[in-house]
Structures are given as C-alpha cells and as structure tokens.
C-alpha cells in the first residue's frame, strides 16, 4: 500500500492553519462586606487579557449586582444572593468601570489588555 504523502501533508497543513485552542483566563472576584475582594484583600483595580472571564461571587448575606456602563464593556448581571456567582467575559481592550447598582460604594476598575 502506498503511503498517501500528499494527503497527509495537506491534512497537516490544514491542522496548522487552525489556531491553537487558548483557554481564557478566569479570575474570581468576591463581593464581601460591600467591597470587591480577591483572595481576602480589597481590590480596586485589576488587569486582565482580552477574552478573560471574571467570576463575581456574592459572599454577603444580601443581594448584590454587578454592572458597567463603560464604552468598552456594557453589561448588567442583575441581582443575585449570597453564594451565587455571575461571570462576564472582557472581549475588548480598554478600561471598564465595574460597580454594584445596589451599593454604589463598590467600585472596581478592570483594565483589559
């Protein structure tokens, strides 16, 4: 049986054309004591890459919201109770001001690069 060199080469070329699957980074930001926190420390600014996901987790015994009216990323994750999470994908480079519509003292600047 003749080895199909040409066919294999074309398959390999086609495979090389497919971009490698990149697992987007995911970070968890807690909502605790009406502040945004990461690993138990208050966080006011955060840098992520385009395509990264932030998971917002409510650890307070009352509802929280997460929204942004920034041009870079406009979103409203609604309100959710203690123990629940909502995630958002940052798919465009720029600065995103993230807030809670219930508790305006909660502010987080996400810089997407």
């Amino acid at each position: 049986m003749k080895f199909p060199v040409k066919r294999m080469a074309s398959i390999l070329t086609a495979l090389m054309m497919i971009p490698p699957v990149v697992r987007a980074g995911e970070q968890t930001v807690d909502q605790k004591d009406k502040t945004f926190m990461m690993n138990g420390a208050k966080v006011a600014a955060l840098k992520v890459k385009v395509g990264d996901v932030i998971l917002f987790k409510n650890l307070d015994p009352y509802f929280h919201n997460v929204f942004s009216l920034s041009d870079t990323k406009l979103f409203d994750l609604g309100s959710f109770p203690q123990g629940q999470s909502r995630s958002v994908t940052f798919d465009k480079a720029g600065k995103v001001e993230v807030e809670c519509a219930i508790h305006p003292q909660m502010k987080l600047t996400v810089e997407v690069k």
Partner: protein, 348 residues
C-alpha cells in the same frame, strides 16, 4: 505484642478523644453563631456609633465655618422669594424635616418627594433620595437653585451676600482669602449640616452595655430587626443604612435612582435612609405614604405593595402583633438626646 496493641488502642482512644475535643472547639463556635443569627442575636458591636464624623480634606470643620453655615441655613434671603430657607423644610423642631408627606417648595408647589432629615448626613456616601449628589458640599447649593424649591440663582445669592458687610466678614473669618463664592457658600452650609448628629440614644447606651437602657420589648425588637424581619439587610451599621438603593414596593411611578443610573434594579429604587431619630421624622418613605411607624412595619410585613421590580429582599414576614409592637419599641430607642437649637442673628 498484646501489650503493644493495648497501648496503641489506648492512644487511639486518647487520640479520638483529643480529636473530638478539637472538632468540638472548631465546630461549636460557628454553630453557636449560626444559632445566634437564626434567633436574631446579632453582634451589637456592629452598631457602635463612631466617635467622629468624616470630613473632607478641603473643608475641615471650624466653629467659624459652622456658625457661617448656620446663618446661611436659616437665612430665607437665599431663596428667590426671600421667604424660604433651608430650615423651612429642614426644620429642627420637626426632626430636621417638615412633617409633611412630601415637601412644599417655591410658590407653595407640592413636590413629589418627602423632605429627608439632615440628621447624620455627614455619614452619607451619596446625598438625596436618588443619590445624585456626591457630597454635602454638592448638595448644599442644589435646592437653593432648584426652581421648585428655593428658586434662586447663584448670581443672586452671591450678590445679596456680598451686599451685607456682616456676611463678608463672616466669610473672611471662615474661609480667609477665599471670598464669597459658590464654593464657600457650599462649604459653609455643608460644615453646619455635618454637625447635626443624632447622639445619646437609649440604643447606644444599651450597645455599650447598659442592660436596662432599653426595655425587654425593644430588645426583642432588635432581635427581630436583625433576625426574622431582616431589616438589617438594608438598615445596617451604626447609622442604620447600607448607603444603598432599593425598590421596596411603594406606590407611585417615581423611577428614583433609575433617572441617575439606568440599570434595571435601580428602577423605583431609593436610598436607604438612616433610622436614627426615626420616631421624630414622620411621615415616612420617599413619597410620605405612611403616617406612622406602625404603617411602615405593616408595609414590610406584607412584603411591599407594588411588586414591579421589587427588591428580592422584600418578602412577607409573618410577624405577630407582639412582634410588630417589639419592632416599634426598638425603633423608638433610636432617638438621640434632643439638643436645643438657637437661631442665629442674621447680618443685615
């Protein structure tokens, strides 16, 4: 061999006992806390009133500034009609509010929202029912220039003030070299408002350990407030507010915070007011819908009336008549010591 096994078993037993004791130590306190919370035995230290109020770096409080602010606050000439002062609506004799369901402004126009008390506004993150002002300085000059309220212009206000040597001198003492300007008017009024603090409430004495400072009904009311009734979900901390915005199911079509922040949950949401001096500031709610605190408690017990965009924290409570009485008794313990307010002599 048998002896070794016996020793090993004995140690295992000891180990188990030790492990069990450690486990009890680890498990019991959280369990105890959980039971406490379920029964509404909240941590009273979370309600300890701060010794000082926050002050912005560019407007430290001095007696000259407070005195000037007080003059401005009580001076009706800051209005277009020369007839309405800040104190017309924020009347110290009526809990620094007006006793009306909703305010009456320029030309006897009835406004759509209630006059909030200025008690403890020093602690507010945002001012006004819809939080549209970020500081007392910003807020202070808002109503003066609002057509429905004091209906003046800053130009008119400043020219009136500058025409009175007594005021020019008071501004110079309060803000040397800064002159009579919108900025100094705002800072002086804010300085005065900042000093209106409700202090010495029976509740505070109880928090500090004086057991009989509030009666047993009020103590049960506190347990309900922080437990079954879950008022503390919004009315939290020593100033009894989360500084947040909630739609609590009141009647009317006022969109509240939504006009400032077009996010769905803001629709019909209003700022959580302080409960300090609450027994002195009837009627209640942003629309003055309720005449008494009993009616307010009934509202929350029903889980609100208007269900459109209702905050999910608002749920029927199933309170008994006694529990409602206990909550009322508790709310009455939040009235601070009443301080006599002397009116300032105004420059001519």
């Amino acid at each position: 061999m048998i002896e070794k096994l016996r020793k090993a078993r004995a140690w295992t037993k000891k180990g188990c006992g030790l492990f069990a004791a450690l486990a009890m130590l680890l498990v019991l306190p959280p369990l105890f806390c959980a039971v406490c919370l379920a029964q509404g035995k909240a941590d009273k230290s979370a309600f300890q009133f701060p010794k000082a109020f926050p002050v912005p770096a560019n407007n430290h409080v001095t007696s000259a500034r407070v005195e000037l602010g007080k003059m401005l606050f009580f001076d009706p000439r800051l209005s277009g009609s020369n007839w309405i002062s800040c104190a017309t609506c924020h009347n110290p004799a009526m809990g620094w509010s007006d006793g009306l369901p909703t305010a009456i402004g320029n030309g006897m126009t009835t406004l759509k929202r209630a006059t909030p008390t200025i008690v403890n506004t020093a602690f507010n993150e945002l001012q006004m029912w819809d939080g549209r002002f970020h500081s007392l300085e910003e807020q202070a000059v808002g109503p003066m220039q609002a057509p429905g309220e004091m209906n003046s212009t800053m130009g008119d206000i400043l020219s009136k003030l500058k025409s009175m040597p007594g005021y020019v001198q008071a501004f110079e003492q309060a803000y040397p070299g800064e002159g009579v300007s919108q900025d100094t008017v705002a800072k002086a009024v804010a300085s005065f408002e900042r000093t209106i603090i409700s202090q010495g409430a029976p509740f505070d004495a109880w928090v500090h350990g004086k057991q009989n400072a509030i009666n047993s009904s009020a103590q049960r009311g506190f347990d309900l407030f922080t437990g079954k009734a879950n008022c503390v979900a919004c009315h939290s901390g020593p100033n009894f507010t989360d500084e947040g915005f909630h739609n609590i199911g009141l009647n009317g079509d006022d969109v509240g915070r939504f006009a400032k922040l077009p996010i769905k949950i803001s629709k019909g949401a209003f700022k959580t007011p302080t409960l300090r001096d609450i027994a002195l500031t009837a009627p209640y709610m942003h629309n003055g819908e309720y005449r008494t605190l009993e009616e307010v408690i009934d509202h929350y017990d029903r889980g609100g009336d208007n269900k459109e965009n209702l905050d999910p924290s608002i749920q029927p409570l199933g309170l008994t008549r006694q529990e409602k009485r206990d909550l009322l008794q508790f709310l009455k313990t939040l009235s601070g010591k009443q301080v006599a307010v002397t009116l300032p002599r105004l420059p001519q």
